[in-house]
């Protein structure tokens, strides 16, 4: 290994790095990194690699596990074995079938692409866009903190929590084109209505045919 020879920076499978990694070149991680990674080059996280770090790079390709926010100027590519817990942000995003992400996903193409504009575009003439929808220009902002905190703790309940947050968005007079999220809010509303009705339900008193309005 003489100087002048072209090396590829590698954190190999048996190596653990704790702390901060900075650099201008590409870095392949096959081992374990905990801390913070900032690269002007590309970061490749191998299938058996575990990265518990905030990642910033020009380009990030993940086949392994990343726990932490991932930001790439150019692209974030998640292969089918990728497992990411954290917010993913990139100029371009690519996610293979089988890749798992828990967190917010954000691509540069979606800048200024608000929920209201998304909804109106998706549903075009079919739906009215409520004036309130416009005020929810960044519907996901509130999820950020929650998603982050749940990311850290992990566990099965996280997903539910994230959903709850989505509800609160929907309550602000929002309806999405996406079935799964959209369905929940109306259901909740319907339940409430039903509950209200039940308390008001008029049952005729014993021996009477009509329920009295009083009492």
């Amino acid at each position: 290994m003489r100087s002048g020879q072209k090396h590829i920076a590698v954190i190999d499978a048996g190596t653990t790095v704790r702390g901060r990694i900075e650099g201008e070149e590409d870095l392949h991680i096959e081992g374990r990194v905990e801390g913070d990674i900032r690269l002007a080059g590309g970061l490749f996280v191998g299938a058996d690699a575990v990265v518990e770090a905030t990642v910033q790079a020009h380009r990030v390709e993940v086949s392994g596990v990343v726990v932490g926010d991932v930001t790439a100027q150019e692209a974030v590519i998640l292969t089918s074995t990728a497992r990411v817990v954290g917010n993913v942000k990139g100029g371009v995003l690519s996610m293979a079938e089988g890749a798992a992400v828990r967190g917010q996903v954000h691509s540069a193409a979606s800048e200024g692409f608000t929920r209201s504009s998304g909804v109106s575009r998706a549903r075009s003439s079919r739906e009215r866009t409520s004036s309130r929808a416009k005020s929810v220009s960044r519907p996901t902002t509130r999820t950020t903190t929650k998603a982050k905190s749940s990311v850290a703790t992990s566990g099965a309940s996280d997903e539910e929590r994230t959903l709850v947050v989505t509800h609160s968005d929907l309550r602000a007079g929002q309806k999405t084109a996406r079935g799964r999220v959209a369905k929940k809010a109306p259901k909740k509303a319907a339940k409430k209505k039903a509950a209200k009705k039940r308390t008001r339900a008029k049952v005729p008193a014993r021996g009477k045919r009509k329920a009295s309005r009083r009492s």
């Binding site: 990694i21 070149e25 870095l27």
Partner: protein, 104 residues
């Protein structure tokens, strides 16, 4: 791929541990503890205490070096720190300041 390579432009502030061979062409500040061979190339810089099976330095090391087997300082090496290894080789031209312990 075999072994960890800390590339030219890479700076690690923290600790590097593991069982792989490690080649340092960049900079590591903190601690290096590997169960393998550690090579600090000419452009490599260590500001760290080092533990390894064997160590070969062609670059710069500031910190103590503890090698299970051997420590080698090539002519280009610049090392400040104590060396503890059963075999120590300091090549002519190497710059070294510190104490050497070669007791087995």
């Amino acid at each position: 791929m075999s072994g960890t390579v800390i590339g030219n432009s890479i700076v690690i502030d923290g600790e590097v541990t593991g069982s792989d061979d490690v080649v340092v062409l960049g900079t590591v500040k903190g601690r290096v503890s590997v169960d393998g061979h550690l090579a600090v190339e000419r452009e490599g810089t260590l500001e760290a205490n080092v533990e390894a099976n064997s160590v070969a330095v062609a670059g710069s090391v500031t910190g103590d070096i503890q090698a299970e087997e051997s420590a080698e300082l090539t002519p280009e090496a610049r090392v400040t720190g104590d060396i503890q290894a059963s075999n120590v080789e300091i090549a002519k031209g190497a710059s070294y300041r510190g104490s050497v312990d070669m007791t087995n």
